[in-house]
């Protein structure tokens, strides 16, 4: 029998960026919040031995323990889904700070086009630009409405950056100046300029100079140490929940952070949630935590899974297109071209978000009339800091092991670098999340099943944008330029991109979306679901800037709900709900 605890006002499931922001904002406003986090606690002090590629980037010590829970995967409905037994295509964080403890720090705002993509695409290219299998829809909020929350996130995170010439709607400077320049990035910048493109130093949460945020938290200066992506920062120089919102929340005395607390379900009466159930992962004890407001901040996968498992909201059915939970699961297509150069550069030095980007082929910045896809992707060269286990690239034709392999992989280590694009991903009716009928997690609950494949749109966009990546490397004077091909189908094994979105999407119409634009469930007033799960499609940038903005927006919504109760947004459709 689960032990029943004393009721609190709000409970969050997971304490990453989303959970941390909610905790900080509610706690500052005097709300008692419990944060339940399945992983362990951690702070900057835990990262003193972090420059260990094998431990963190090969064995993934900071990532979710897959022996306890994973997903199952198949390419299409009708196939038998099988478990993702080890990490491959994407990674999933765990522990206090979530993936925010070890993210790269690319901090983007989605574009105005993203939020009204359906309306704007129809208007410019006609209603049939994409076949009807693509379940494209607007987000129920505009860029203009979200902009103040974006800036709020940025001021808290201390983002370093420089204005993007192709995003004129932004006029506010970044809280901290752009990161340092390096010779290889300068060469990229020059080549792009010669091609008539619009490169700029990209926004970064590796902070360029010491910064004190409005909550009084201090971020240190990035040391360009090269152990950033997948690593915690031993200097407290990477903006993460651990050095910002979590300490802010704790300082108020209103935040009760409970680690090793794995939530297994939402308790509810059909119309209203009354709390959550969780297991202490160290003792196996079960607890019921009653709460007035339940906030899911457990990332794309568990936000969706907890709703399906708890039978809250209407599950999506790809056959009929009805229902919403699990709908519009999206990924990103990662286009890559690698340049092999004559001269060596300091490839081991770098930072997670040290890069130069251009948006000439992103959003609707170029004409798609004669193209068989919409949207695009940011095109970036990053100096991440190369590490030797993972980086053994050599021009194709080089053997994968043996004498030649050793010689060539050593030769190119300090002479090669990729240009990559994060290609936007459009929702498709057959790409969705549901519960697996066979496989179970460590607590006996069904795993989440992912049904996903690349679409025609993805393939067309990929081919187009990979060629653009290669153009820039050619212009830079690389000796060899090698564009990578996209696999025919999405493959769960090779590492690709960590940005998985959708499943509990926001919108203006309760029939086609799960959440209103405060991320409040249409069907259950006291449940808010925050994260990239709310994205109606995935854009051409990393997601977390948008996750952060939505979290601040939701925090405001929760405080409103606390006063007025009920739905915060009027429904746009008069249709009766099924």
């Amino acid at each position: 029998m689960a032990k029943k605890l004393d009721k609190v006002e709000a409970v969050t499931v997971g304490v990453g960026w989303a959970g941390g922001i909610i905790a900080a904002e509610l706690a500052k406003a005097g709300v008692k919040v419990v944060g339940l986090e399945r992983g362990n606690d951690r702070s900057t002090e835990d990262f003193q031995m972090v420059h260990d590629e094998y431990r963190y980037a090969i064995r993934y010590e900071l990532m979710q323990d897959l022996s306890k829970e994973t997903i199952t995967f198949r390419n299409k409905p009708g196939e038998k889904a099988l478990p993702m037994r080890q990490f491959g295509a994407f990674l999933i964080g765990t522990g206090v700070g979530g993936a925010g403890a070890h993210w790269n720090g690319d901090t983007w705002f989605f574009s105005p086009y993203d939020f009204e993509i359906k309306t704007m695409t129809d208007k410019k290219y006609g209603k049939n630009k994409l076949p009807k299998e693509y379940t494209l829809q607007d987000w129920g909020i505009t860029y203009k409405e979200l902009a103040p929350y974006y800036h709020q996130f940025e001021r808290m995170a201390g983002t370093s950056g420089e204005l993007n010439p192709l995003r004129p709607e932004r006029t506010e400077k970044y809280p901290t100046p752009p990161m340092k320049d390096t010779p290889i990035l300068k060469s990229y910048m020059d080549a792009a300029n010669r091609l008539g493109l619009h490169p700029f130093r990209q926004p970064s949460a590796n902070i360029s100079e010491v910064y004190k945020n409005p909550d009084g938290e201090t971020l240190n200066q990035c040391q360009y140490c090269g152990f950033c992506e997948k690593f915690g920062c031993e200097y407290g120089a990477k903006s993460s929940p651990n050095v910002t919102v979590v300490p802010t929340a704790l300082k108020t005395g209103n935040f009760d952070l409970r680690t090793h607390a794995n939530v297994t379900g939402i308790i509810h009466d059909g119309n209203k949630a009354t709390g959550v159930r969780y297991v202490d992962t160290q003792t196996g004890e079960e607890f019921d935590q009653p709460a007035d407001i339940v906030v899911l901040t457990s990332y794309t996968l568990n936000n969706t899974r907890l709703l399906l498992q708890s039978e809250l909201g209407r599950p999506y059915d790809p056959k009929t297109g009805t229902g919403v939970i699990g709908k519009n699961y999206c990924y990103q297509i990662t286009a890559v071209a690698t340049g092999f150069f004559k001269d060596r550069f300091n490839a081991a030095m770098g930072a997670g978000a040290l890069g130069t980007t251009l948006d000439d082929y992103n959003n609707d910045n170029f004409d798609h009339s004669d193209l068989d896809f919409i949207h695009g992707g940011s095109i970036t060269m990053k100096q991440l800091g190369k590490r030797p286990i993972n980086e053994n690239g050599a021009p194709s034709g080089t053997p994968r092991w043996g004498k030649e392999f050793k010689k060539e992989s050593i030769k190119w280590f300090n002479r090669s670098i990729p240009v990559t694009s994060q290609g936007a991903s459009m929702p498709h009716k057959n790409n969705y999340l549901s519960l697996d009928p066979t496989y179970k997690d460590a607590y006996g609950n069904p795993l989440l099943r992912m049904t996903y494949d690349f679409t025609e749109q993805d393939h067309a966009l990929y081919d187009y944008i990979t060629a653009r990546c290669a153009d820039i490397l050619e212009e830079m004077g690389a000796e060899v330029v090698e564009p990578k091909e996209l696999t025919d189908h999405f493959d769960i094994v090779p590492a690709q991109n960590d940005h998985i979105t959708g499943g509990v999407i926001m919108g203006a119409d309760p029939e086609t979306s799960a959440l209103n634009n405060y991320l409040q469930m249409w069907d259950v007033d006291n449940v808010f679901v925050i994260g990239a799960s709310a994205f109606a499609h995935n854009g051409g940038y990393n997601p977390t800037g948008t996750v952060g903005a939505l979290a601040y927006r939701a925090a405001e919504g929760i405080l409103k709900y606390r006063k007025n109760k009920g739905q915060l947004v009027k429904r746009e459709t008069s249709n009766k709900l099924v």
Binding site: S43, N346, G402
Partner: protein
């Protein structure tokens, strides 16, 4: 401890003392900012020099029970990452010991992987599915390397010429050998990636002896900062440091 490593430990402690977490909370931005911003931390110090001649008690077996299996593994890793005029190969770097030690622990026992059944064969996009844990895959694969060698050349794998060993390894790589409950290509991939991991991981894991693999690749290992180097037009050759240099 020699003078040089004392020095590097000292400066690390000093660095930590001056950064936020050692003070038990964040110190004012101004203070640490001026420290870091003016390059208080000197990133040009020399790393310690360590000698491989000290006896290395780490070089013994904790997973393999038969030395013959370990020798076959060793020979195979050396073909994947051979000694050449640039420097040592897998054996001299200690890679076989790295693999042995890894197989004895969480890696070998798939402690953080989903290992619940049923184990079904999927499409080529669903990831390999085998009920065997890594230690069992290695044992199966190593024994099969030996039996392939015996049937093709009537000799042990360890006694073959390098090219003959390569031929056998290629058969595994191309999935041309039948193994029980696991594919030979899967074993080969595991062998290849474990060899590369052991070659280039921090020497604390038993491979990459003396950081020689990093030296060949001009990888500086675990440095504290590149703040004042990253802008350099020239390639900077930096003597590598390992995590051992950072233990105070």
């Amino acid at each position: 401890m020699d003078e040089d490593s004392k020095k590097s430990n000292m400066s690390r402690r000093k660095f930590i003392r001056n950064s936020s977490y050692a003070a038990g909370g964040l110190i004012g931005g101004g203070i640490i900012g001026s420290l870091i911003g003016t390059n208080y931390f000197n990133d040009t110090e020399q790393p310690s020099t360590r000698s491989s001649k000290e006896s290395n008690f780490n070089r013994a077996l904790m997973f393999f029970t038969r030395q013959s299996d370990f020798q076959i593994l060793s020979a195979a890793t050396e073909r994947i990452y051979p000694k050449d005029d640039q420097g040592p190969g897998a054996i001299e770097l200690g890679v076989p010991y790295f693999i042995d030690h890894e197989l004895a622990g969480a890696y070998g026992h798939n402690e953080r992987e989903y290992m619940k059944g049923p184990f079904l064969e999927g499409t080529e996009y669903q990831g390999y599915q085998t009920p065997l844990k890594r230690h069992a895959v290695f044992m199966t694969g190593i024994r099969a390397l030996e039996s392939e060698s015996k049937s093709a050349y009537d000799a042990s794998f360890v006694d073959l010429e390098g090219e003959q060993q390569d031929k056998i390894l290629k058969k595994f790589e191309n999935d041309d050998v039948k193994l029980h409950k696991v594919s030979s290509a899967y074993f080969f991939e595991m062998l290849r990636s474990a060899t590369i991991s052991g070659t280039y991981a921090d020497p604390l894991y038993g491979g990459n002896a003396d950081m020689d693999a990093w030296k060949m690749k001009n990888f500086p290992g675990s440095q504290m900062t590149y703040l004042n180097k990253i802008g350099s037009e020239k390639f900077i050759d930096i003597k590598p440091k390992s995590l051992n240099d950072h233990i105070s």
